[in-house]
Symmetry: C2
């Protein structure tokens, strides 16, 4: 299998895309740099000309994944400008979409696969996760939820759980109920005490 080999895509981008695909499908540790280079239609030397090391490649993959997540957030906000409560619903839909085609969160997977990774990798993971949590809490707050942090944490736990569960037992497991459970949680937190 090749990834855009021969197309007008720069080797660096092919390598990055291929690495993310293989890291996701086979796991980070199980994927060798040779396999990445070959699948990307290039060779190991070119890979090392663009990325100082495999760790650097991993960080670059995570940074691109973070950028993708930013775009998803922008799409959520654009779906209902000025209506944070509708954006919260759109966020649930967005996450539900993530559950369908992905093997799981690239950051969580990296955290599990590389418990003793270098500082740069760990920092990239924690920074991303904290950003997501903050952003979700802000959306809950803007939606007028009385306890925005608690709803945000509830939803964050459910997303993480759904993405992991899907890897462990597939789509038939609890991940299947994510949308329903998340909507219930939002409805409850929104109704328990209306804001003053």
């Amino acid at each position: 299998m090749t990834n855009d080999a021969g197309a007008q895509v720069r080797p660096r981008d092919r390598i990055l895309g291929t690495a993310r695909a293989l890291f996701g499908r086979c796991g980070i540790r199980a994927t060798g740099v040779d396999a990445i280079a070959e699948t990307a239609g290039t060779n190991k030397m070119t890979l090392y000309r663009h990325f100082q090391s495999k760790d650097a490649l991993i960080v670059a993959c995570l940074e691109q994944a973070a950028s993708d997540a930013d775009q998803l957030w922008e799409a959520v906000e654009a779906s209902a400008p000025g209506d944070p409560r509708a954006q919260l619903d759109a966020w649930v839909e967005m996450v539900d979409g993530l559950l369908k085609d992905s093997r799981g969160c690239e950051f969580s997977n990296a955290a599990v696969e590389l418990p003793e990774a270098c500082d740069i990798v760990r920092d990239t993971i924690t920074h991303y996760k904290k950003t997501q949590r903050t952003r979700l809490a802000q959306l809950c707050r803007d939606s007028g939820i009385p306890e925005p942090e608690r709803l945000a944490d509830t939803l964050a736990l459910m997303v993480e759980g759904a993405r992991i569960s899907r890897q462990a037992v597939g789509a038939d497991g609890p991940a299947d109920s994510f949308t329903s459970c998340a909507r219930t949680a939002i409805g409850y937190f929104a109704s328990v005490r209306e804001p003053a």
Copy 2:
């Protein structure tokens, strides 16, 4: 570091305990059989006399982890015999305890680390996860929850999420809120419609 080396513990049990500890701390793929044998105070040959392969060792670790989980469930039931609702609260406490000292669920970690593992490993993981889900749903049902499966899925997602989140961002992340969020969910599902 050695694991009960020299004590009156059979090599097989030392190997198993050490393997679980190292798999948890360093990751499965990052842990070599040499390291396991040495840390267990024995050698690789003895390891291979007890376990046909590293995969077989992994399966044995997961089976022991499943056995540990059974004991935790028995403790939950014994904490409030005949009072399933109190058992549900005890279950939350039990999970909260799990969050404190573990690196995460050994089954979920294995699923993430070994996406292309052999059938035996995959089957062990899915069987365990389905058993846990069924058992939790039964406890919710016995507690008189009107929608036991949905509460069970909500709680299952939150447990999975909390254990993963703890690995990714530590105890300061959403995992910190698990107990509070889980109790809220239980309270809501129990109150929304009392059973007939």
